[in-house]
Amino acid sequence: MTDVTMTINGRAVSGAVEGRTLLSTFLRETAGLTGTHIGCDTAQCGACTVHVNGASMKSCTVFAQEADGAEVTTIEGMANADGSLNTIQQAFQDHHGLQCGFCTPGMVMTAAALLKENPKPSETEVRDYLKGNLCRCTGYHNIVKAIMAASGQDVSAIAAE
């Protein structure tokens, strides 16, 4: 076992891990942050997406030891300081961007990464950026709509209601 420490949503978290302990496991089991979901565990679905030093990554493909010393942001770090939903989260609620909600933490983290890089993406750019995130419920239209709305753009003409 090796000791690792990382800053998760501004809080330092330490724990002893095996070589094979994934960042996703560390977040859920050591830090107790179960908002990061594990869908496929094989780098395909994006449900486990978090930000490591500002870059979005699938936490099921990063070992906990590789994130030693890193700044990690998870879905639990997204809400406003007063606990209310942030702009992206609120837009998902307003535009029905979720149904079962399993993919949603990954979708929100991906949307945040996109809007940081590209504050006013086109619909095509949003869809392109979501390539690594699978949703089995919504058919994606309302997710795209929510992200466009969160970027402050008019969404009345986008896809199906």
């Binding site: 070992f63 950026y129 390539k131």
Partner: protein, 260 residues
């Protein structure tokens, strides 16, 4: 996943030493290797993580040659833009999360028969730099998932001569995001190169008939009537050998048109 030790050296010298241990295996961005371990398809006793080694990261442009450190992620290459065709190729690999983590060295060393970077390296006449030698791309890719790398040897960088014209066209397999077929063409000081990925059972290859035709006339028309044989092409649920052979011709024309 089977258990293993993970070491995280911060210098190349320490990494090479750690790789000298029995059953030690290098880990770069892990976008292929970690899922492989999850499926218990590999059982190393030690993984040597290369992503903590700063000297393996970064992009340098010197006198028309772009040198990219082995542990540089795809997103950094995509953002660079010095060699536009290469940056575009890097920006189309996988998805944004994969591009933030996957590395050029990992892709080149794995030599997946459908990966994009091997086509860029072969199609640009790049040189693969390892911890103890330099190997021309022509001699590096030796077969499907096979390279000239020796045991314990790693890709520390790739040197790309930036050509006068180049373009990559990829017919994406929508589920995996790998190339069903991808073609990289370039025209530079050393002539025309056409490298094809995703198609052959032997992995990435140069299509020499197309190179000859394009050398005298770098235009899509020069390829009229040329085709690669379906024999030896990959056949799977996504495409037959004949379909892939056909795509090679079509995509090469498109790549030449795009290179201008």
């Amino acid at each position: 996943m089977y258990d293993f030790e993970l070491t995280r050296p911060t210098s190349l010298a320490d990494a090479i030493k750690a790789l000298g241990e029995e059953d030690a295996q290098p880990l770069s961005g892990g976008q292929t290797l970690v899922p492989t371990l999850r499926q218990r398809l590999a059982m190393p006793s030690t993984l040597v993580s290369l992503t903590g080694i700063e000297e393996l990261k970064g992009i340098k442009n010197e006198g028309g040659t772009l040198t990219i450190g082995g542990a540089t992620c795809h997103a950094d290459v995509a953002r660079d833009g010095t060699y536009p065709a290469l940056s575009e190729l890097a920006g189309l690999i996988g998805d944004p999360h994969v591009r933030n983590r996957g590395t050029i060295g990992g892709s080149i060393a794995n030599n997946d028969p459908s990966a994009c970077y091997p086509a860029a390296a072969l199609g640009s006449g790049a040189t693969i730099v390892t911890n103890n030698r330099e190997v021309a791309a022509d001699d590096f890719f030796t077969g499907m998932f096979e390279t000239a790398l020796d045991e314990g040897e790693i890709v520390t960088g790739v040197k790309f001569p930036v050509p006068e014209k180049a373009a990559y066209v990829k017919f994406e397999q929508p589920a995996s995001r790998f190339a069903l077929v991808g073609v990289f063409v370039s025209k530079g000081a050393d002539g025309v190169r056409v490298a094809v990925t995703g198609a052959s059972e032997g992995g990435v290859f140069r299509w020499s008939e197309a190179e000859d035709a394009l050398s005298s006339n770098f235009s899509p028309d020069a390829l009229d009537g040329l085709s690669v044989p379906a024999d030896g092409m990959i056949g799977d649920m996504h495409g037959s050998p004949a379909y892939r052979a056909h795509l090679v011709g079509v995509l090469t024309k498109r790549a030449v048109a795009k290179a201008g």
